[in-house]
Amino acid sequence: MNLDANIPSGPLEQKWDKHRFDLKLINPANKRKFKVLVVGSGLAGGSAASTLAELGYEVDCFCFQDSPRRAHSIAAQGGINAAKNYPNDGDSVFRLFYDTIKGGDFRSREANVYRLAQVSASIIDQCVAQGVPFAREYGGYLANRSFGGAQVSRTFYARGQTGQQLLLGCYAALSRQIGLGKVRMFPRTELLDIVVVDGQARGIVTRNLVSGKVEPHVADAVVLATGGYSTVFFLSTNAMACNVTATYRAHRKGAAFANPCYTQIHPTCIPVSGDYQSKLTLMSESLRNDGRIWVPSKNGDQRTANQIAENERDYYLERKYPSFGNLAPRDIASRSAKEACDAGRGVGESGQGVYLDFKDAIGRLGEDTIRQRYGNLFHMYEKITGDNPYQVPMRIYPAPHYTMGGLWVDYNLMSSLPGLFVIGEANFSDHGANRLGASALMQGLADGYFVLPYTIGNYLASAKLGSVSGSSSEFTGATKGVEDQTKKLLSINGKRSPDSIHKELGRIMWEKCGMGRTEAGLKEALKIIPALREEFWNNVSVLGTGSELNIMLEKAGRLADFLEFAELMCRDALERNESCGGHFREDHQTDEGEAKRNDDDYSHVSAWEYKGPDKNPILHKEPLVFDNVKLATRSYK
């Protein structure tokens, strides 16, 4: 397997410029002869599809929701980073680059991250031009705030709805191209396979979720922008239908999967309240700017929050990390909450919760200011829990939120399968072992607006693309494979609903491959997941037919892939004998309970190659080389 990252030579600051100059161009009149399939209409897919169409390519775009505007990116609340240095507080491209590398616990590629920081400023310009209503200061200029463990204010935001507004900007650009006939949009359409011809990705097979029709689509290149896989845990902050199907099926067709065990558990979510729970709601991290996190100092303290005196409270983040305090990075804040709860100091009925308290901020700034800053979040919290956070502290607990792992890509964002490009959360490239707040939106739009449109041109200009037809054996074979799987799922006639099996998988993953991982636990998971998979294939119930809107069939298909993918995650977590970022191996920690990296043996990307249904995947390693930063122990003390 070729894992050459194709990083351009030369100094870090000049790589992207130089690379763009070296890339082959396609004459404007010829671009329309190339067809590109963009799967996904979130920030990554939406921006790529519209930009490629503006450049003149023929584009088909797919999403499983009823409209491209509803991609999961819509849910992002907090903001988007950019190295604009508008507040004049010392930010720079290099600082954003350094923060991202360090925040990722030195497990990402320097060149990719630097480019991300470089193009970040253009993203804001582009979004403003589209009419994205970013927050403004009274002078009319763009407002910034500090977010998610950054010591500079580089985060742009639109109330608590930044993802929504950025996505609507993207959706508007996409809609314009659809209206002009430059993009054909396929909503309620799910990718179920990738088609490889002569070693190149040349198309996909989809199922129309309304009619059930299975169809081949032929193209010159395929772009996956299908988001992350946090829903492997069943309960997560992600939208219900997020899934791993597109990337996992691509993996089965030859694309390496990188660092699948790197998942981010977000510290500030509303705790689980019962078995019926379908998702965990994120409370924006911006709340940590003014809220103070604490638990009772005494184990098993059953009193209500307001009955517990100041000196009986443990503001554990402020105690352990005096310089970052409540703004400690996500992985650290999450783990500390788990530690407190595991020690019996958790709050709420389940004991799986900690307080996020605004009493001091309200005292200092007044309720009005707090309402102005967080009114909608407080309102949402009250709606869900029935508690009023102006009077009692919020209760929060960590929840699966983001997946840094994804399909392996090179500097051009091309996977190890030629012609298959992967952008946004679906790839692995920029966040290492832990993502900083407000950086996913930045990466999705960087990939889609400013990176992929260049690099895909180079591929199309230089690859030898033979003529391919949808009736070739590769396409008919893949189509039949999809139809066969549908038939198989419908014929099991078992007793268990897809959701009940998914919940069981989620519990296994949360316990064994969640916030704290151990060798023994992972080994156990590797035994029970295959058994659960067996159970699924023998006992799942999928009613109805394949030729109608069938929600059980959709769920079962996605779950089938999760049941294989979960094993890959555990395998990767087991193999990575160190702690780094969101991957915390309890057997690798410092005396103070911090993550202990092992740079000598694990300073690499783990890229897994699929070998067949009952065979073990093969691990390939792409070494990470750091020429511009010094590897340091992350300290937020």
Partner: protein, 250 residues
């Protein structure tokens, strides 16, 4: 609590459909409305009955996918709330809940409670944008915009495109939806070069899709989960008049 559900079941677009009764015992008041439906569905599956199809995704009140009429009210009784964020504590033991899909000519039913809202997308395709190709943009701070105007733009931009406004309007008018987009761009200088074509094209598309006229009932504002104000409708009316009465295109 124990509830009685009367749910619209329709197996496809051509099936006439009907209301079917389902008892829903042992519902926790902490569940969201959709979690309650999940529980009902799991019980149906155990009995080998097809679960009730409904649209949903984010369950955070932001994607605009969920879309249910509960006892004749779009998104149910809680003001400013999507049905995914509505919790069962707002209902009482013994309540009968009639659950139906959005009803409008321009939103045909796909199955059960799922409708086709692609007409909204088609309206956006003719004018719900600023034509700014990637790469064209000046520095973000080169266009100062007063905080007041930016906030007004944001108020309108908060629309999630769920279609509750249409579902609750006796004329099935889409004026609140279209008004929200026109208003957003009206309050931003970036929107001005195309303001005429935007207003006239979007209104024409809205008529073409079969949405009705606005007769100032304001049911739309009452159910809008993002509490978009009907003032966007007056803005749309003004913009439309301006576009038709003044000469020349943008």
């Amino acid at each position: 609590m124990n509830l009685n559900l009367r749910v619209w079941r329709q197996s496809n677009a051509t099936d006439p459909g009907k209301l079917v009764d389902y008892p829903a015992p042992d519902i926790s008041e902490h569940m969201s409305f959709l979690e309650m439906l999940d529980v009902v569905n799991e019980r149906l599956i155990v009995k080998d009955e097809q679960p009730i199809a409904f649209d949903h995704d984010c369950r955070e009140g932001i994607c605009g996918m969920c879309s249910l009429m509960i006892n004749g009210i779009a998104h149910g009784p809680e003001k400013g709330t999507t049905v995914c964020q509505l919790h069962m504590r707002h209902f009482k033991d013994g309540d009968t809940l009639v659950i139906e899909p959005w009803r409008a000519r321009a939103f045909p039913v796909v199955r059960d409670l799922v409708v086709d809202r692609s007409s909204f997308d088609r309206i956006m395709q003719v004018g719900g944008f600023v034509s700014a190709n990637t790469g064209n943009a000046p520095d973000g701070n080169a266009i100062p915009i007063s905080k007041v105007e930016a906030d007004l733009a944001m108020d309108a931009a908060a629309c999630i495109g769920c279609g509750a406004c249409v579902a609750s309007c006796k004329n099935a008018s889409a004026m609140l939806f279209v008004g929200a987009k026109v208003s957003q761009f009206l309050h931003l200088p970036q929107g001005h070069p195309e303001r005429k074509s935007r207003a006239s094209n979007m209104v024409a598309a809205m008529d073409h899709e079969g949405f009705g006229n606005c007769t100032n009932q304001y049911e739309c504002e009452a159910v809008c989960p993002k509490e978009i104000s009907v003032s966007v409708i007056s803005e749309l009316n003004r913009e439309y008049t301006r576009a038709t009465l003044t000469s020349g295109s943008d």
